[in-house]
Amino acid sequence: MSTAAHETTLGVDHRKLAMWVFLGSEFLFFGAFISTFLLYFKETNGGPGVELFDIAFTSVSSFILLMSSLTMVLAHNAHAHRDMRRLRMWLLATAMLGLVFIGGQAFEFTTFYKEGLTLATSPMSSAFFVLTGLHGAHVTIGIVLLLSTYALTKTGKITPEQDVKTEIVGLYWHFVDIVWVLIFTVVYLIPYDIVVFGG
């Protein structure tokens, strides 16, 4: 655009502003799904319910995802210091942590399926799988973005000066992590506490 990034009304890069605006929308997207799960977590239709949750396991995978936010910060920090080698290293590290998280989710889903909690078992199971599945899809898209950023720094499409691009990917990644913290608390911990320990 002719009035490019440094020429904006608010002095904020268009793309960064756009990501913030978009994440506002995403927040309601997850908010509606989380509300649905809260509405349904006791509706097990005779099937298994939240007592299947392995809180210890999910705590570990949540921790891994949280750590990826740290590596993401380090990635952006490296880019801001024009250190492309370190940038690429941290991008890869972040993507790897994301992949581990997705692997954990795949394992968790498989376990639940074996225990009889499938997508169409009950409103509870449907709400759980669709919510966490869509969150997993967001993480996957994040991984694609991270790897793309990695590749584009190699081809020179992302220059050392364009750390705003890493920053935007980072915004998305942090958002996905924060949503997971919310999901872990509101979808795993609280319903588990209510159902298993009676609140």
């Binding site: 009035t3 904006t8 268009h14 309601l28 997207f29 649905t36 009950s122 449907s126 499409k157």
Partner: protein
Amino acid sequence: MASTTTSDAGPLLARRPMKTQGRWSFLTTVDHKKIGIMYFWTTLVFFALGGFEAVFVRTQLMKAESTFMAEELYNQLFTMHGVTMVFLVVMPLSAAFFNYLLPLMIGARDVAFPRLNAFSYWVYLFGGIFLYSSFFLGGAPNGGWFGYAPLSTNIPGNNMAFYAMSLQILGISSLAASVNFIVTIVNMRAVGMTFMRMPVFVWMSLVVNFLLLFSLPIITVGLIMLQFDIALGTSFYQASAGGDPILWQHLFWLFGHPEVYILILPAMGIVSEVLPTFSKKPLFGYSFLVFAGAAIGFIGFGVWAHHMFTSAIGPVARASFGLSTMFIAVPTGIKIFNWVFTMIGGKIKFTTAMLFSVGFVAMFTIGGLSGVTHAIVPHDYQQTDTYWVVAHFHYVLFGGAMFGGVSGMYYWFPKVTGKLMNETLGRLHFWTWFIGFNLTFGPMHMSGLLGQPRRTAVLPAGLGDAVVLYNLLSTLGAFVLIVSSLIFLVNLIKSIKSGEPSGNDPWDARTLEWMTESPTPEVNFYEIPVVAHRDEFWHRKYAEDEAGVLRPVPAGASEDHDVDAAVATDEHADDGHGHIHMPDPSYWPLVMTAAFLPFGYAVIYKSAPLLLLAAVWMFAGFYGWIIEPLAAGDDD
């Protein structure tokens, strides 16, 4: 135009298309004006389709116990009429105006993300085509535009699967557009264009796009769950497995009510531009109008359950949503009085655009007043789902959104084409439209109060002769509207071909878009103006003397005092006219969005290979998009 690009390097595939002229350039254009024009024509096509559906529906109801068509077809047609008019006509018509006008009105050369803008348009087009393809693939959606579960999940066939899928696709289009327009309005205003100097149309657009931003995710969640219930046997809305059908209603109307304001606020914005121009007076109570618009935006999220007064909700919810519904009438009333007092004391010129705007105020008032009766919750138990409601929302959406939209078409036609529309045909259009509209929807108030329910394929003779008569009148009105629409079409085509030249500023207008040439040059403004007033253009043409009387400013005088500042703030204007860099056209929005067709069919027919194809296609499009060469300074 594009003189500084990098696209002459690299392999063929990575090059950007260069054509910015001619018919084919529309396929690759990222120019907000061309995209706006494409939105406009596509909207007209869907308006014709939705109109035909309406006429078929009215023909069925022309007489009691009619057998003109069977229930199944009727149900598809009334559903498609609603879905078409809301999602494929009024919303994208607003997008047409947003596209063409927002950058011009705030003094920008394009929207923030030109390629994303093209993406939005193509997704809309493919979403519309996808929805209409259902007619040839076993039947169109037949569960109502509101798609209430569990009905929408247990109608056999793919009818409602098409509904759920196409609304999601169209939602992606609107969401991308809303992000784009918000960033454009917030971040691309010309120097001096403060928020309180923005034209009301820009303000209303900003509110609308925030409404879209926050309401679309909610309907998307509802639709995803609906799609899962239809396709994969989940039980989000199935009472037999512990699900709750009312959840859909909450999610739908949490979107659906803001949606009403999404449909009407752009028209309010248009009217707020047209009335002052043709009254030769500034808008009465600008700040009240702006705040009323914003207030409507906020309260609009707190009234959704008034669509559910007779649903399974308790008296506390009914009472509180009744209250909030009453109070949303206050900001709406403020607007109406401000428009009227803009005219009072003015010097009104009755162009066709003005006629439609005055018609808007008069008709919208009726819709607003019948709307207040819905807030009488206990009586809403009687009115709801009768033709009283059909009358109400057509007075708001047709009498409001469509009157405003058409007013905008006449008003900005010279801006887009440099020609005037024919005023004689325009008047004929207005009066046939006005009479046809009132003849169609006026009697529906009566047929509703006399007990005719909505969405019924049969008009029972038992409802009485009066109801049958009112229905006959409504049908006659619908035929008048068809004639009226044809008059408009003739006028449009005739004026495009051989309309009189309009000059740059045919209406003696007030806002920035008229400061540049008409038709708008590709760069919009050769020099970005510096804004010192609300109604900047007007203030450059007229100055108030000490007695408060306006005097025209001598031609050229106003130019002088701003040129330096304009050039100084617009470094990218480079070295004078003709060398301003504009974003290059791109294949990728079209290529990428076409993948939504295989994606949609893959979900409906549960075809994994097709899904894979769509995913690879989209991914390839996404990469083409990313690695496309950019000129320095471009950043979308």
